[in-house]
C-alpha cells in the first residue's frame, strides 16, 4: 500500500541508519517508565466509581488543598513574572560588577534539591529565623502559614520566567525603540508600547512553566507550610497522606484531578499563544 500511495508514507526516506532501533528504544522506555504508569493512575482513579470519585473530589479537605495549590501557584507565578522580567531586563541590558555571577545564580532553584531549599526556607522564616525574627514584631507570620507556601513557590519558579524572557530580549534589535524615541515617544512609553509587547509570549510561557512547576511542588513547601489541614495543606501532600492511609483510590483521584486541571490550563495558554501568533505573526 505504501508503495502505491507514497503520500501516505509515515516517514520521509533517509540514508541514515538506526531509525528503527532508536525509535524502538525511545518508545519502549517511554511506555514502560512514563505512559503505562500514568495510565495506571487514570485506571485506578476511574475504578473508584463515580460516587466515590465525586465524594473525594468535593470533600472540603480536597477542595481546600487544591485551592491552595492552584491559587498559590498562580500568585507565585505572577510575582515571578514581574521580578523575572525585571531580572532578565537587568541581566541583558545593564553592565554591572558581578553580572555573570548573578546570571549563574538565577538557576540555583533548578540545582538545589527541593528538600534542602525547604528546610533552609523554613529555618529563615521561622519566628526565630533571620527574616522571621524581623517580621515577628510586625505581627507577620510567614512560616507555617499559607504565606510560607507562597514563599517556597516563588523560590522554585523564579528561573523559568528569567530563562524564557532573556533570550528574546537578547535578540531584540535596538532599531525599533530608537525609532520610537526619535519620533518623540517618552522612554516610559517606548518601554510599554514598543519593547514589552514582543516579550509577552515569552513572558506567558515562563509564567506557565513556573505555574506548572509550582502546582506540583512538594519538597520545598512541606517544611515551611506547617501542613495544617484546610489551611496550609497543599494537594501533593494530601496525595501522600491518602497513600499513607493505604487509600490508593483516594490518592489516585486527587492526583488525577490535579493533572487534568494543570493540563487544561497549559493547553488553554498554548491555544492563546497560537492565536496570538496567528494574529501578530511569529514573535
Amino acid at each position: 500500500m505504501a508503495a502505491v500511495l507514497p503520500t501516505l508514507r509515515w516517514r520521509e526516506p533517509s540514508i541514515l541508519p538506526g531509525f528503527g532501533i532508536a525509535l524502538g528504544i525511545t518508545l519502549t522506555a517511554l511506555s514502560l517508565v512514563v505512559l503505562i504508569p500514568l495510565a495506571a493512575l487514570f485506571l485506578k482513579a476511574a475504578s473508584a466509581g463515580p460516587a466515590d470519585i465525586w465524594a473525594v473530589a468535593t470533600s472540603p479537605r480536597t477542595l481546600a488543598a487544591l485551592r491552595l495549590s492552584f491559587t498559590g501557584a498562580l500568585f507565585a507565578a505572577s510575582v515571578n513574572a514581574v521580578f523575572g522580567l525585571i531580572l532578565a531586563w537587568v541581566l541583558v541590558r545593564y553592565e554591572f560588577p558581578g553580572r555573570r555571577l548573578v546570571d549563574a545564580a538565577v538557576d540555583l532553584p533548578f540545582a538545589l534539591p527541593t528538600a534542602v531549599a525547604g528546610i533552609a526556607l523554613a529555618a529563615i522564616y521561622a519566628p526565630n529565623g533571620w527574616i522571621g525574627a524581623l517580621l515577628a514584631p510586625l505581627d507577620i507570620k510567614v512560616a507555617y502559614t499559607p504565606l510560607g507556601v507562597m514563599v517556597a513557590l516563588i523560590f522554585i519558579g523564579l528561573p523559568f520566567v528569567v530563562r524564557t524572557v532573556q533570550p528574546v530580549l537578547e535578540e531584540m534589535q535596538g532599531d525599533v525603540e530608537e525609532a520610537a524615541a526619535l519620533l518623540g515617544a517618552s522612554r516610559w512609553r517606548t518601554v510599554f508600547r514598543v519593547i514589552l509587547p514582543p516579550l509577552y509570549p515569552a513572558l506567558l510561557t515562563g509564567f506557565v512553566l513556573a505555574f506548572a512547576r509550582a502546582v506540583g511542588e512538594y519538597g520545598s513547601v512541606i517544611f515551611i507550610a506547617g501542613n495544617v489541614p484546610m489551611v496550609s495543606e497543599i494537594a501533593p501532600l494530601l496525595i501522600v497522606i491518602r497513600l499513607e492511609q493505604f487509600d490508593y483510590a483516594g490518592a489516585a483521584v486527587v492526583a488525577t484531578i490535579m493533572l487534568l486541571l494543570s493540563f487544561a490550563l497549559i493547553l488553554a495558554v498554548n491555544l492563546i499563544q497560537a492565536a496570538a501568533r496567528r494574529r501578530f505573526g511569529d514573535v
Binding site: S14, L16, T26, V34, P167, G216, Y218, L259
Partner: protein, 296 residues
C-alpha cells in the same frame, strides 16, 4: 574577510551612543539593579547561606559526626547508586530519542516530543504514586510480585523507577535542538564514503554534540541525586536501607536534629554549587555549541 564585512551591520551600535536614545536614566537603572539584587538575595542567596551557617552551627566535630554516622553514609551510598543506574539509562534513551527525532522526519514527531516532556508537568509526588499503584502491596502487580518474592516498592528498583521518571526528559531535551540545528549533512557524507552506522555515530555525531550531552547529563544528575517528592513516596524511608540523602535530611529535620540535617543538606548544596559552576562554565566556553538548547 568578506564574510566579516557582511556581518558588520548586524553589530549593535556602540553602547555610549545608543544609551542616550535607548537607555534609562542612571537613577532608574540603579533602582532596577537594586530591586533585582535584593530579590535574589532575599529568595536565593539567603537560603543557600543559611544551609552552610546552620550546618556549621555546632562546630566542625558535630558536622563531621553527622556526615559520617552509618545512616548518613548509607544514604550517601544509596543516592550515588540510584543516580549511577538512572542517569546512564536516561543517557541511552535520550540519545536514542534525539537520533530518531532530530535525524528523521516522521508523523507524530511533535506529539512524541510532547510525551517525552510530559514528566516535567507531573508533580513529583504523582511520579512516585504511579509506581505504588502498579507495584505496591495493593497495586495492579502487587499480588504477583509478592508471590514471586520480588520487591519493587520500598526497595531499590522503586527508587530507580521514580528517579528515571522524573529525570526522563533532561538528556533528550538538550540533545534534540542541538542535533536538529547541526543537520545530517556530515553523517550523510560519511555514510556515502563507506562508514558504518555505528562509526558515523561515534566519530561524527557524538563528538559534535558532546557538550550539550554533558550539559544534559549534568542537569539530569543534579535532579536524580536531589529528587525528593517522587522518591519519598516509593521509598518507605527505612533507615540505612531505602533512605536517600534528601530523605535522610527530612528525617533528621523532623526529629529536631537541625544541625545534623543541615550538615547532610550542605553536601547536597555543595553538589548544587558544583553543578551550577560547571553549567556556567559550559555556557561561557561552549555557548555557541549549545546555544540552541541553552535556555529553556
Amino acid at each position: 574577510m568578506s564574510e566579516a564585512a557582511l556581518h558588520l551591520p548586524a553589530v549593535p551600535p556602540s553602547r555610549a551612543g545608543a544609551q542616550r536614545v535607548r537607555g534609562e536614566s542612571l537613577v532608574v537603572r540603579c533602582l532596577l539593579i537594586a530591586v533585582s539584587l535584593a530579590f535574589l538575595a532575599l529568595f536565593l542567596l539567603l537560603p543557600l547561606v543559611s544551609v552552610f551557617v546552620e550546618a556549621g552551627a555546632r562546630g566542625f566535630a558535630a558536622y563531621q559526626a553527622a556526615i559520617t554516622e552509618p545512616d548518613a553514609v548509607a544514604a550517601i551510598q544509596l543516592t550515588l547508586l540510584v543516580a549511577s543506574i538512572a542517569v546512564p539509562f536516561n543517557i541511552v534513551v535520550g540519545i536514542a530519542a534525539a537520533w530518531a527525532i532530530a535525524k528523521f522526519e516522521f508523523r507524530g514527531k511533535n506529539f512524541l516530543v510532547s510525551l517525552i516532556d510530559l514528566p516535567f508537568s507531573v508533580s513529583p509526588v504523582i511520579s512516585g504514586l504511579v509506581f505504588v499503584l502498579l507495584f505496591g502491596a495493593q497495586g495492579y502487580f502487587g499480588a504477583w510480585l509478592k508471590a514471586n518474592d520480588v520487591q519493587i516498592i520500598f526497595a531499590l528498583p522503586g527508587l530507580v523507577l521514580a528517579t528515571v521518571f522524573v529525570t526522563f526528559p533532561f538528556v533528550a531535551r538538550e540533545l534534540i535542538p542541538h542535533m536538529q540545528a547541526l543537520g545530517s549533512a556530515d553523517e550523510e557524507a560519511a555514510l556515502t564514503l563507506g562508514a558504518s552506522g555505528w562509526r558515523v555515530f561515534f566519530a561524527i555525531t557524538l563528538p559534535n554534540v558532546k557538550w550539550s550531552l554533558f550539559y544534559g547529563v549534568l542537569l539530569c544528575n543534579a535532579r536524580a541525586m536531589g529528587e525528593f517528592g517522587a522518591v519519598a513516596v516509593v521509598s518507605g524511608k527505612i533507615r540505612g536501607l531505602t533512605n536517600t540523602m534528601p530523605l535522610h535530611v527530612e528525617i533528621l529535620y523532623n526529629e529536631y536534629m537541625g544541625a545534623a540535617a543541615f550538615a547532610v543538606a550542605s553536601l547536597l548544596a555543595g553538589l548544587a554549587l558544583v553543578t551550577l559552576a560547571l553549567k556556567s562554565l559550559l555556557e561561557w566556553r561552549y555557548g555557541d555549541a549549545i546555544a540552541a538548547s541553552r535556555r529553556h
